[in-house]
């Protein structure tokens, strides 16, 4: 239960030294180490898989004195999110998280966090929604908040999870943004699998991440303000418009923050919004979010070795949506095949959420590619290398014929 001797030695090194330290840990461990480095003040926990591991690691780090924060075990997820909202209102840096139905139980508080403009950072260990019960990954939990002012980012390695947590605080707390960030991590595939990653030294994190400053919005007896009074039709439109501006500002801020991150930590993510993989001159590009990148990238490498012009585009930031990058990377290819680990019943063409948004972005493009949609990997079902090859073959076939026969395919569904 407690921090091991080896882990202790490494944590001492990053807390006191100037060098990064390589460790082995799960995706949720990586986030917990980032929270230690970001010196969060308040966090609230409630058990649900697969996000819960992060709170267990945070608890160990607090119990053994590696980080200092108020650790509050909540009554349920709504309680959990309401707790951090109010901690954030008095000037505390906060962390919270959940998965699947837990995230949905909290949704009223989740919306109030963004509409009150508190830069809470949350981990969403993506999980299928009930009923029926399933532990495995599905992205519909996080996507439920795509319209209400949360910045949403998907990571695909433990290293990216750690780095993105630090980046998330910097972006969220920027006065031009002041919106919460939800970091999505595929349940089991990333939350629970062990990775090698590097923990940066605290000295560098302090250079990168300034203290949280709410300015004149901080609730304190020395600053007598009223937060979220009844405004009704008089002001709601203006307040929503401010959120719209903040979300648009976030695009610029995200770019700045990634540049700064590369400068200070020496790890350069290139384009912050999307990760293009062998998309140059590609005829067919698959698009996806999260760990589905692993089998697809492997399929791209093997198909490229055989001379097939294929590529992959991983979407990192879904909110704000990377419209320009989608147009830049996808408008000139012959076929775009989107893998959705989600569903959006009754949507245009009955496709997934990511497919629909990409299709909408490409409407403005000079050239519009053919589009296919694979809905799959639901409830934690694995999308394997062979699946990725099959999907590419279907898309390549459409590229050769210049025609998509079936636009939305529920991949691997048993009928």
């Amino acid at each position: 239960m407690s921090v091991t001797a080896l882990e202790s030695k490494r944590l001492e090194a990053v807390l006191k030294g100037d060098e990064e330290v390589e460790v082995v840990g799960t995706g949720t461990d990586a986030v917990a180490y980032a929270l230690m480095l970001a010196d969060i003040d308040v966090t609230s926990a409630y058990p649900i898989r697969p996000y819960g591991g992060v709170m267990q690691t945070v608890a160990r780090l607090i119990a053994d004195g590696y980080m200092k924060a108020e650790y509050i075990v909540a009554a349920h997820e709504h309680d959990q999110f309401e707790i951090v909202k109010h901690a954030s209102a008095v000037g505390a840096r906060t962390f919270v998280g959940s998965s699947g139905v837990g995230w949905l139980l909290a949704i009223e508080a989740i919306v109030a966090i963004s509409t009150d403009r508190y830069p809470v950072v949350a981990l969403i260990g993506n999980r299928a929604l009930d009923d029926p019960g399933a532990y495995g990954v599905e992205h519909n939990d996080a996507l439920m908040v795509r319209d209400v002012g949360w910045l949403l980012v998907w990571v695909d390695t433990a290293q990216e999870a750690l780095d993105t947590t630090l980046i998330a605080y910097r972006v969220a707390e920027d006065p031009r943004v002041m919106l919460p960030v939800g970091i999505s991590m595929d349940g089991a595939f990333l939350t629970h699998s062990e990775h090698v990653f590097k923990i940066p030294p605290k000295s560098k994190v302090q250079k990168f991440l300034p203290p949280y400053d709410l300015g004149n919005r901080k609730l304190h007896p020395s600053n007598v303000i009223s937060v979220a009074p009844q405004v009704n039709e008089d002001w709601v439109t203006e307040i929503r418009k401010q959120m719209d501006e903040a979300m648009k500002n976030a695009r610029k801020v995200i770019e700045e923050v990634y540049r700064d991150f590369a400068k200070i930590f020496g790890r350069d993510y290139g384009n912050p919004f999307v990760e293009p993989y062998m998309v140059e001159d590609a005829d067919v590009v698959m698009v996806g979010m999260g760990t589905v990148s692993k089998p697809i990238k492997e399929a791209v490498r093997r198909l490229r070795a055989k001379g097939e012009k294929v590529g992959f585009l991983r979407i990192r930031w879904f909110r704000p949506f990377p419209t320009d990058d989608i147009i830049r990377y996808l408008s000139d290819v012959k076929v775009v095949a989107v893998v959705d680990r989600d569903y959006s019943f009754g949507s245009p063409f009955d496709g997934g959420a990511v497919f629909t948004e990409i299709r909408s972005a490409l409407y403005e493009a000079e050239h519009r590619p053919l589009m296919m949609n694979f809905i799959g990997g639901l409830g934690g079902r694995e999308i394997t290398y062979n699946d990725a090859i099959n999907m590419f073959n279907m898309a390549l076939d459409a590229a050769r014929k210049g025609k998509v026969e079936q636009r939305v395919i529920w991949y691997g569904v048993r009928e």
Binding site: K68, H78, V84, K85, H86, V90, A92, H220, Q230
Partner: protein, 245 residues
């Protein structure tokens, strides 16, 4: 445990001790609204070093209209069921920030205000969880007007047996629609939470008692709870303020 605070003994004491209004003009409640009277005395007893959290309810909607708020204290809204969570989050943040030297170390009262619907019904689990968090100092105040007074007077579990509300009218076939008995919140809070530090009931018509109880709760610290009874006559079935008895 002995507490050394100055309590009011007489009306004269009260008028001397509580001259400044922190719940002032600007609200839109009826003349003589008991819940508003409760808030006025609570605010007086708490004084300026206080953060107030108000859950959705009639005392949110009526008192905090933008530009005309009645609160002369820092105030924030929380969701209908959020009072227990909000006081814990606020008190925990103050503790963390003061211990880390990010805020000056001083006593700041944290008061969460919820109606009977937000406290005894929707927010019961949050309030209950809050009352177990002995590390933090806060007062949860349930102003019990015995109905959901903000939304056209519907029954809550705190509405008395047999009462007429818009959800429990009396009809030709069913004489009593509110067939449930009122919960005993103060007893439930006191008995069910072994480390709750102070539980009281009060009423605005005895302001000396109400004032003293708020003072005591805030002085004792830890999780504390006060239930005030302030029925909303506007909601009583057939009540017509123009008709004098």
């Amino acid at each position: 445990m002995t507490i050394s605070i100055k309590l009011a003994r007489t009306v004269k004491d009260l008028l001397q001790m509580a001259q400044t209004e922190y719940f002032d003009a600007g609200h839109r409640t009826c003349q003589g609204c008991e819940s508003a009277m409760v808030l006025r005395w609570v605010a007086k007893a708490a004084g300026p070093n206080t953060i107030v959290i108000g859950a959705t309810g009639c005392m949110y909607v009526a008192n905090t209209t933008y530009y005309t708020t009645a609160w002369a204290l820092p105030w924030i809204h929380t969701q209908l069921s959020g009072t227990g969570s909000a006081v814990v989050g606020t008190a925990a943040a103050l503790k963390a920030l003061m211990e880390k030297g990010k805020l000056p170390n001083e006593k700041i009262n944290v008061i969460g205000i919820c109606g009977d619907l937000g406290c005894a019904d929707a927010g019961l689990s949050e309030v209950s969880n809050a009352l177990t968090h002995t590390k933090y100092n806060f007062l949860i105040l349930m102003y019990d007007n015995e109905s959901s007074a903000n939304t056209d007077i519907q029954e809550t579990t705190m509405t008395p047996y047999g009462a007429l509300t818009t959800f429990s009218p009396s009809g030709k076939q069913v004489r009593i629609m509110k067939y449930r008995w009122k919960k005993n919140m103060a007893a439930m809070m006191a008995v069910g939470h072994p480390e709750v530090r102070y539980v009281a009931t009060a009423i605005a018509s005895d302001p000396i008692d109400l004032y003293n109880k708020v003072k005591k709760a805030l002085e004792i610290g830890g999780p504390t709870f006060i239930h005030t009874l302030d029925p909303c006559p506007k909601g009583w079935g057939g009540y017509d303020p123009q008709v004098q008895p």
